[in-house]
């Protein structure tokens, strides 16, 4: 038996030259003691392969047409045998790929492995990271649902701010004047042909360089990289090293296998993501949220002052990419060990803490008004007990004028504005009137939206919102003087839908 295999192998080897080409690569020496921090790159590659295979499987059922994509996704979820699992694996593996490439880049950064002579490997890695994020965004669009539709709207609204080329860019991205059939087809083309092609075309030289420059040894404090002596030092490391195959590769294989198992477990446990509501632009009760990778950006755009926004949308990505690309050329020498590079460690800490906090904020989105609170969350009963008719009327105004969408009472309602449960402890009568009429902060001015009787009732209600044993804040102005302002703002106003409080 063995001799048959042997001769078959010999036949192939004679033609392919396996022994002389692939075998030396597989068994190339690597420094000793690399350990478990070196496994994230191969895990990213493994998940990419999962993506390619599950992606091809999905593509044979999914219909990349605006008219049928949503139906075909529902078919995949509910009718196609194991369609739900393939969709789930594709989603969770995509998330895993973003996590793994981030860990890989972090490891390379912290251990200074991007330094001489591996600068080009790092730059190609940056392209791979961008391809991965591009795949994550375009994949979200192919999940042709409400979030995808409005998410595209957000994406092109950002692109549309680019100086000079903005509107043209929007047209080209959308494939037409509006989001529609050609938009989905364009993003399908990007997601299944252009970006994977670009990724593979970058991956090949990336891996070639990994083999050619060798895997960097674990950094030792006090052993800085000096291009003049590095090669000799590295050669000495390799001499004392061990072959990549079969020993060192096993760590990669074990970790990759575990990663795939975790992805599989998540897919089985949590299933596929979406599709959410149908991509019908006339259903405007949509609250689009990006997938988790882009939640920090969503949060950043809500939390920054408007005058900085365009810079964050257009300049920050360019600067970010430029920093990543230039990094090995700016700090391509010197210490590699994170113990001697506190700023590098700090950068990573600040980045991940900011990313985590912003992602959490993006998920909670306290800046978003709660669009149904005005009709769905009544003023708590305890707060309207023993109120005068006018104060009760104020509570009705508070509810009807959609104040609840932004203001919480006793923990329920929107969180865009401050919780008003104890507002009378901090604002006097005249301050309340001023805030209602003129707005300020993020609040619109209600001067033209409310009649004098409504303002009077509303403020009377708000003044009851204080702690039982604490008197409300007293203003200097009398309420009568303040209400003259109301009358001048809206002289002929009658409260149409709220009868004024009766004596």
């Amino acid at each position: 038996m063995r001799s048959i295999f042997q001769s078959v192998f010999e036949w192939f080897d004679h033609r392919l030259g396996i022994r002389s080409s692939i075998w030396p690569i597989a068994t190339h020496p690597v420094p000793k003691g690399l350990g478990w921090f070196y496994v994230f790159g191969s895990a990213t590659l493994t998940l990419f392969m999962v993506q390619v295979i599950t992606g091809i499987c999905l593509a044979v059922v999914y219909v990349p047409s605006a008219a049928d994509a949503y139906t075909s996704l529902e078919y995949l979820n509910n009718e196609q045998p194991l369609g739900w699992l393939l969709r789930a694996m594709h989603y969770w593996s995509a998330s895993g790929m973003v996590v793994m490439i981030a860990l890989h880049a972090t490891r390379v950064f912290l251990m200074g492995a991007y330094k001489y002579p591996r600068e080009l490997t790092w730059v190609l890695g940056v392209v791979l990271l961008l391809c991965t994020l591009g795949l994550a965004f375009t994949g979200q669009v192919l999940r042709w649902d409400q979030d995808a539709y409005w998410g595209l709207g957000v994406g092109v609204a950002m692109a549309g701010r680019a100086p000079l080329i903005g509107p043209t860019l929007v047209h080209i991205l959308l494939g037409g004047p509006n989001i529609g059939g050609e938009t989905l087809s364009r993003f399908f083309g990007l997601h299944v042909f252009v970006l994977p092609g670009l990724l593979i075309a970058t991956l090949v030289p990336h891996l070639y360089l990994v083999v050619r420059q060798g895997i960097s040894a674990r950094p030792k404090p006090g052993q800085p990289v000096d291009p003049a002596t590095y090669q000799a030092e590295y050669d000495a490391e390799l001499k004392a090293g061990e072959p990549f195959f079969p020993h060192d590769v096993s760590r990669d294989a074990i970790f990759s296998a575990l990663t795939v198992l975790v992805v599989f477990g998540l897919a089985v446990a949590f299933g596929p993501k979406g599709p959410g509501g149908p991509p019908d632009p006339t259903i405007i009760q949509a609250e689009p949220r990006p997938d988790w990778e882009f939640l920090p950006l969503f949060a950043l755009l809500a939390l920054t002052p408007p005058e900085m926004e365009t810079a964050i949308m257009l300049v920050m990505p360019v600067v970010g990419i430029a920093i990543l690309v230039l990094l090995p050329f700016v700090s391509g020498k010197g210490e590699r060990s994170p113990r001697r590079r506190p700023i590098a460690v700090l950068i990573i800490l600040v980045f991940f803490v900011s990313y985590g906090v912003l992602a959490y904020m993006g998920d909670k989105a306290p800046w978003s008004p709660q669009m149904d609170a005005w009709s769905g969350q009544p003023v708590p009963i305890a707060m309207v007990k023993q109120l005068s008719p006018q104060e009760l009327q104020g509570a009705v105004v508070f509810q009807n004028k959609t104040c609840r969408n932004c203001h919480a009472l006793d923990g329920t309602g929107g969180q865009r504005g401050p919780d008003l449960t104890l507002v009378a402890n901090r604002l006097s009568n005249s301050e309340l009137i001023r805030q209602v009429l003129q707005g300020g902060g993020n609040m619109p001015a209600y001067g033209k939206q409310l009649g004098p009787a409504e303002v009077e009732a509303l403020v009377a209600f708000l003044e009851t919102l204080h702690e039982a044993d604490e008197r409300p804040v007293r203003g200097v102005e009398t309420s009568g003087a303040a209400f003259q302002t109301v009358d001048s703002v809206e002289s002929s106003a009658a409260a149409p839908d709220v009868p004024s409080s009766k004596p």
């Binding site: 047409s65 605006a66 008219a67 049928d68 994509a69 949503y70 539709y149 409005w150 709207g153 957000v154 092109v156 609204a157 950002m158 549309g160 701010r161 903005g166 509107p167 929007v170 047209h171 080209i172 959308l174 494939g175 037409g176 004047p177 509006n178 989001i179 529609g180 059939g181 050609e182 938009t183 991509p279 019908d280 632009p281 006339t282 405007i284 949509a286 609250e287 689009p288 755009l301 809500a302 408007p306 926004e309 800046w367 978003s368 008004p369 669009m371 009807n400 004028k401 959609t402 969408n405 865009r416 707005g439 902060g441 993020n442 609040m443 619109p444 001015a445 209600y446 033209k448 939206q449």
Partner: protein, 188 residues
Amino acid sequence: MNEPAKTPDSADPHAARANPAQPCPGRPHRRNVLGWMSVGLGALATAAAGAPILGYLLSPILKTPKNEWAELGPVENFPEGETRLVDFIDPLHRPWDGDSQRLAAYVRRDAEGSFTVFSVNCTHLGCPVSWFPQSGLFLCPCHGGVYYEDGGRASGPPPRGLYTIESRVSEGKLAIRAGRLPTLQAPG
């Protein structure tokens, strides 16, 4: 093709001198010509194949759509002093647009009877704003932008008021010039 042969080899002494290892003085010249031809023809072929590809990909900005007016129905459907959400079919839609060919806009008919039509897209980042007639405000669910009933910016991150859409009344029917996604630099 005759041109290289016509040129006397001696007329190009540089070619021979530049590469003294060449056994035959005519060879380098011919190679030179072949080299330049491969570059020139290659460029021509790339341009010939590339131009239509670029034109095809950029076609969305090259073609001008013809009919952009969408009818929203008789003017009686819009009571004076009210703002209403209307659905219409995108006049520029593709046959395979599916649900995405359905668009929405807010029609406001003021007390004097004139119409203002607003795009549903928030001017901040394009999310769909909701109209609350009780408070006379448009609210955006994404980052909390607020607009007054006349479309003016009230609060939050939007850099301007709501986008307005050109409208006209002909034969008692309201029509709008729609189908383009408004953005900050191309609001119309």
